[in-house]
Structure formats: structure tokens, C-alpha cells
């Protein structure tokens, strides 16, 4: 109820001026906190809290990893940080351009953090930011009020180490995969790989960059040892690299099936019916995203 009231009031005032109820968090390793996103599409009921988002607490500072899908979620995440530690939020990492991960950034502006993104994030935001705002408004109505596009203030070309105080977090920029601006993070203290949307578990992966590139990046990532991984969608903590197997299987099935459809001259609009039908039933939201994934893969693979 308090949350609902806070949400209502936030609609009238600038984010950051009123306290929202803290977002429920799970501590998956010492100092690593994750909120479990719901397996739904964005709506007014879920405030676009559909991705796994969270923060890492160092001895001197806090890093938020994905500020959430709306100003309201960002505000609730910020309250969760404050309820956990009084160390300052110095970094907000935006793992990629998708709205469910980064539209909460505006709520952290009062902390004046560095907003960290992939070197290609500004270009992607330029192309998509305005459209995503409209889409969010369509899905959330006035619950989207206060949400705006926040520019990254520090860009990652390849890799960047951030020291949170006796705790170094490594940030890696990837080639086109889930999107063309994906970041993953590695907390050296707990050997936690924050895979963001390079890793989907249970929920069907969304291909919005390059399906071939995603397989390449995932193969490389799988070689990195980690005690656990945080998927962008799925449980808050999973075994690594075992948890990546279903995603790899799906991506490879999409590649093989789409290549076959192109070879047979099946049109782009019909191809999904013929590609990886065995994967239906293995993923949440399969019917919502599989046709789109095949369309994207077709568009990429037809140039081979």
C-alpha cells in the first residue's frame, strides 16, 4: 500500500523527492544484491520491473548494475541501496539500451554518479530512446511519468576496472550479440559474473543485435570461470557456465533452422513456423518473441 501511494505521489513530483518503498532484494553473495524481475512484458501493474537489477557494495562506494525499467523502479532500487548501506552510489552501469534495464537511471541523478555504458550506447539511445519512451508510456500510462533517457557519462570501449574500495569490478564491452551495446561485469571478490542480457534463463532470449555474434560472445564468456552468474532474466543467481547451455542450444537451433529456411526460399514472415519448433514449451514467452527472433536472424543470415 505504501508502495502504491508512493508511486501515485511520484507521478506528481520529480523522482528523488519522495521516498518509495525499497525494491525487494536478494543477497546472492557477500555485498551482491539482486532484484528478481518478473517474467512478463512491461505493464502498469509491474512498472516494467521485468529484468534482474541490483547493486554491489564495496568498502567505499556502491555500483548499481542496471537502474531498472522505469523512474519508479529506479526510485525503489535507490531506496533498497539506502536501506542496505550508507556508502554513496558512485556508479550506475547501464548494461545495454533496452528500456527494462536502464529507464530507472533518472532516479539516481541526485547521487551524481558516473553513468557507465558501452561505447555504442549513445548511438543506440539516439536511435531508440524517443521511441522507447513512447512505448513505455503506452505500456505503463502515467506510471511512466518522470522517466527519461539518461546519457552515459563514461563509455567502455573494451574493458574498464572500477574500484569500489578493496573491491574491483571489471566491466567488459562485447561485440554485437543480444544488442550492439552489451556490457557484462565480473566482481573479483566473490567471482560473480553479472551476465546481464547475454544470459537468459527460463525466459526466451531476445535477439536484437546479432545471433552469430551472440554465440561467439557467449562461447568466449563461458571460458571465464565464475562461482555464479546473474542472468538479465531468470533466477537471481545460477551456476556458470552450465546455466548458459539452454540459451546456446536455442541460439544455435535458430541459426541452423533459419539458414535452412532461407535456402528453401521460405519468406521471412513465415520462416519462424519452420525454425526450432522443438524449442516451444521450453521457454517462457516463447510465442511472444520466437517469431521476432527468427525475423532478426533471417535478416542477418540472408546476406551469407
Amino acid at each position: 500500500m505504501r508502495r502504491v501511494l508512493a508511486a501515485f505521489l511520484l507521478g506528481l513530483a520529480a523522482p528523488g523527492t519522495l521516498a518509495a518503498a525499497p525494491l525487494p532484494m536478494v543477497q546472492i553473495a557477500p555485498g551482491v544484491f539482486v532484484h528478481n524481475g518478473v517474467q512478463e512484458d512491461a505493464s502498469a501493474a509491474n512498472l516494467d520491473e521485468i529484468a534482474n537489477v541490483g547493486f554491489i557494495v564495496g568498502d567505499a562506494a556502491v555500483m548499481v548494475i542496471d537502474p531498472g525499467g522505469s523512474a519508479l523502479e529506479g526510485e525503489a532500487l535507490r531506496e533498497a541501496v539506502k536501506a542496505t548501506t550508507d556508502r554513496p552510489i558512485r556508479y550506475v552501469v547501464m548494461t545495454h539500451v533496452h528500456p527494462d534495464h536502464i529507464f530507472g537511471a533518472v532516479a539516481f541523478k541526485p547521487d551524481h554518479p558516473e553513468f557507465i555504458g558501452h561505447a555504442k550506447l549513445p548511438g543506440a539511445l539516439a536511435q531508440r530512446g524517443d521511441y522507447y519512451l513512447r512505448t513505455l508510456r503506452r505500456a505503463l500510462g502515467d506510471k511512466a511519468d518522470g522517466t527519461e533517457v539518461v546519457a552515459p557519462t563514461r563509455l567502455v570501449e573494451k574493458t574498464l576496472d572500477i574500484d569500489l574500495g578493496e573491491r574491483v569490478v571489471e566491466i567488459d564491452a562485447h561485440g554485437p550479440a543480444h544488442t550492439d551495446n552489451d556490457l557484462t561485469l565480473f566482481d573479483r571478490r566473490t567471482k560473480t559474473l553479472w551476465a546481464a542480457d547475454l544470459l537468459f534463463v527460463n525466459r526466451i532470449p531476445v535477439i536484437d543485435g546479432s545471433v552469430l555474434g551472440w554465440v561467439r560472445e557467449l562461447e568466449a564468456l563461458e571460458k571465464q570461470p565464475a562461482d555464479r552468474a546473474v542472468p538479465g532474466h531468470g533466477p537471481v543467481s545460477v551456476a556458470w557456465p552450465a546455466a548458459a547451455e539452454p540459451e546456446m542450444r536455442y541460439l544455435k537451433a535458430v541459426i541452423a533452422g533459419t539458414r535452412a529456411a532461407i535456402k528453401e526460399g521460405i519468406d521471412i514472415g513465415d520462416a519462424w513456423r519452420h525454425v526450432a519448433p522443438e524449442e516451444r514449451g521450453r521457454w517462457l514467452l516463447f510465442d511472444d518473441y520466437h517469431p521476432r527472433n527468427v525475423t532478426t536472424a533471417y535478416h542477418e543470415l540472408e546476406w551469407e
Binding site: Q127, Y131, D180, G213, I268, Y289, W303
Partner: protein
């Protein structure tokens, strides 16, 4: 061709001035008014007959990907062979007139397939103009994509690197005088220039394919005046009529920055099937 491209650009500018109703909740009366405004801009006071089944728009009921929605416009029944031009309009897109497709004598003028961006819940309209100057219109409603889908380039670096490359796929074996399907792909980011960069508050410069001309054996097959509603890497599928002797299918492409791209593919029919 430069002249007709300019004409289309002029229409586009006028249409852009008509405010698009936003979102899914727009009522049918508003949508009808929107189309009335658009058709007046494009066709003036000319009558448009309801095409019934004679013109079909094939598209998914919901756009799976806002950036790439396959659409086929098919001419049926008594209209087959009589159409010289097809106008395709996406009512609620920022630039509604997506394309104007003109068939030449070397075409089988009954089908055109392309891929478009769909920004919102909107009606699609196809208007076919016959050789004797009559207009026949069809419409279909489509829902916008949800989630993280956007009418934007997926891999911007690749789009720039591959600019202007073309690919032509001929389906089946050519037989003289029998329609043959050809699928043309042009690698081009086809960026709209109408998206505002939320970070700089500037509009991204436009960079799109504005004209495509296809000829076969020197005769016109298809000319397309295209626009920013056409997807990245513009795709056009059409039918042409192979001759008995081998001849070339040629393509010329011009973009909004006056870049010019050309391609040529030999067609060798098997005679006497």
C-alpha cells in the same frame, strides 16, 4: 527519376505536418479522419473505389519486430494485369507514404513484397492505380510491437560497413514470358532522420534509399519511390517476364545523400520446356 523523387519528398513533408494520433486508444473516427487527411494529400479529390478482394494486404496482425514487418500487396481477380502503380501508406508512421511502386512493361504487375517499420497501432492502406487511371483501395489494421523492439538499426557498425551492397535472388527457373519472382536486397541503414536524439535534442540526419529502378533487357520492370518507413536493408520482391534470349536484370539505387549504387544479374532462360 530525380523529379519524381522530389515530388514524393514534397508529399512526405506535407504528410509529416499532419499530427499522428498517438497510441492504441485512438478511436475509429480519429483513424478514419487520419486516412481522409492522408488520401486528400496524396490523391486530392480523386475517387478511390473499395477494392474488396481485388487488392489484398498481407501482414501479421501484430508487428513482431517494429523494425521489420514483412508486407505483401497482391492484386487479384479482374484487376490482375491492369495495375500500373501501387501506393502503400502506413497511416500513423512519422512519414506515412512508405512507397510508390510503378510497374513497367517487363513486369508481371500483380504482386509486390517489402519490409517496413511500424511505429504504432495503425491502419495500412494500399491503393492500386490501373492503366486507365482508376484507383482501388484496401486497408488492414496492424498492432505495434511490444517490449524492447524498436524501428531502428540493430548493428549500426555493420550497416555502415555494408552500405550499398546488393543481393538478388531469382526463384525457380526462368521460362520465356512466364512470370519469375525476384527478390532484391539493398544494404542500407535507411535511417529516418525523424528520430530525436534524446541526449543532444537534435534530429539524427536522414540517410535513406529514395529511389530504386529495376530494368530487364533494357525495359522497365519496377520503379520504387521509397522512404524512411521502409526497413533497414530495403527489400523488394517482384515478378518480371524473362525473354527467350539471355538478358540482364539491372538495378539502380539512389539514396537521400545522392549516393548511387548499381547491380546487374544475368538471366538465362531455358527455352522450349
Amino acid at each position: 527519376m530525380a523529379k519524381t523523387s522530389l515530388a514524393l519528398s514534397a508529399i512526405v513533408l506535407m504528410l509529416a505536418g499532419i499530427a499522428a494520433p498517438a497510441s492504441a486508444e485512438v478511436d475509429e473516427a480519429t483513424r478514419a479522419q487520419r486516412w481522409a487527411d492522408l488520401r486528400a494529400q496524396i490523391f486530392g479529390s480523386r475517387a478511390i473505389e473499395d477494392a474488396g478482394d481485388l487488392v489484398a494486404i498481407e501482414a501479421p496482425t501484430r508487428a513482431e519486430d517494429a523494425a521489420l514487418v514483412p508486407v505483401t500487396i497482391r492484386i487479384n481477380g479482374a484487376l490482375r494485369g491492369r495495375v500500373k502503380e501501387i501506393y502503400f501508406v502506413i497511416d500513423d508512421n512519422p512519414s506515412p507514404l512508405a512507397g510508390r511502386f510503378t510497374f513497367g512493361p517487363a513486369a508481371d504487375p500483380n504482386e509486390i513484397e517489402t519490409r517496413v517499420r511500424v511505429d504504432d497501432y495503425t491502419y495500412l492502406h494500399a491503393v492500386a492505380e490501373t492503366k486507365d487511371g482508376k484507383l482501388y483501395g484496401a486497408q488492414r489494421f496492424i498492432k505495434a510491437a511490444g517490449g524492447c523492439s524498436a524501428p531502428a538499426t540493430k548493428d549500426q557498425a555493420l550497416a555502415a560497413e555494408r552500405l550499398g551492397r546488393m543481393k538478388m535472388t531469382l526463384r525457380g527457373q526462368p521460362h520465356p514470358g512466364e512470370p519469375m519472382e525476384a527478390h532484391l536486397l539493398v544494404s542500407h541503414p535507411n535511417s529516418s532522420g525523424m528520430q530525436m536524439d534524446q541526449l543532444t535534442r537534435n534530429y539524427i540526419p536522414a540517410n535513406f534509399v529514395r529511389a530504386v529502378t529495376v530494368t530487364y533487357n533494357g525495359a522497365a520492370v519496377l520503379s520504387v519511390e521509397s522512404d524512411i518507413s521502409i526497413s533497414e536493408d530495403p527489400s523488394f520482391t517482384f515478378d518480371f517476364l524473362p525473354t527467350a534470349a539471355p538478358a540482364d536484370l539491372k538495378v539502380e539505387v539512389e539514396d537521400s545523400n545522392n549516393r548511387h549504387f548499381e547491380g546487374s544479374w544475368p538471366v538465362k532462360p531455358k527455352s522450349g520446356t
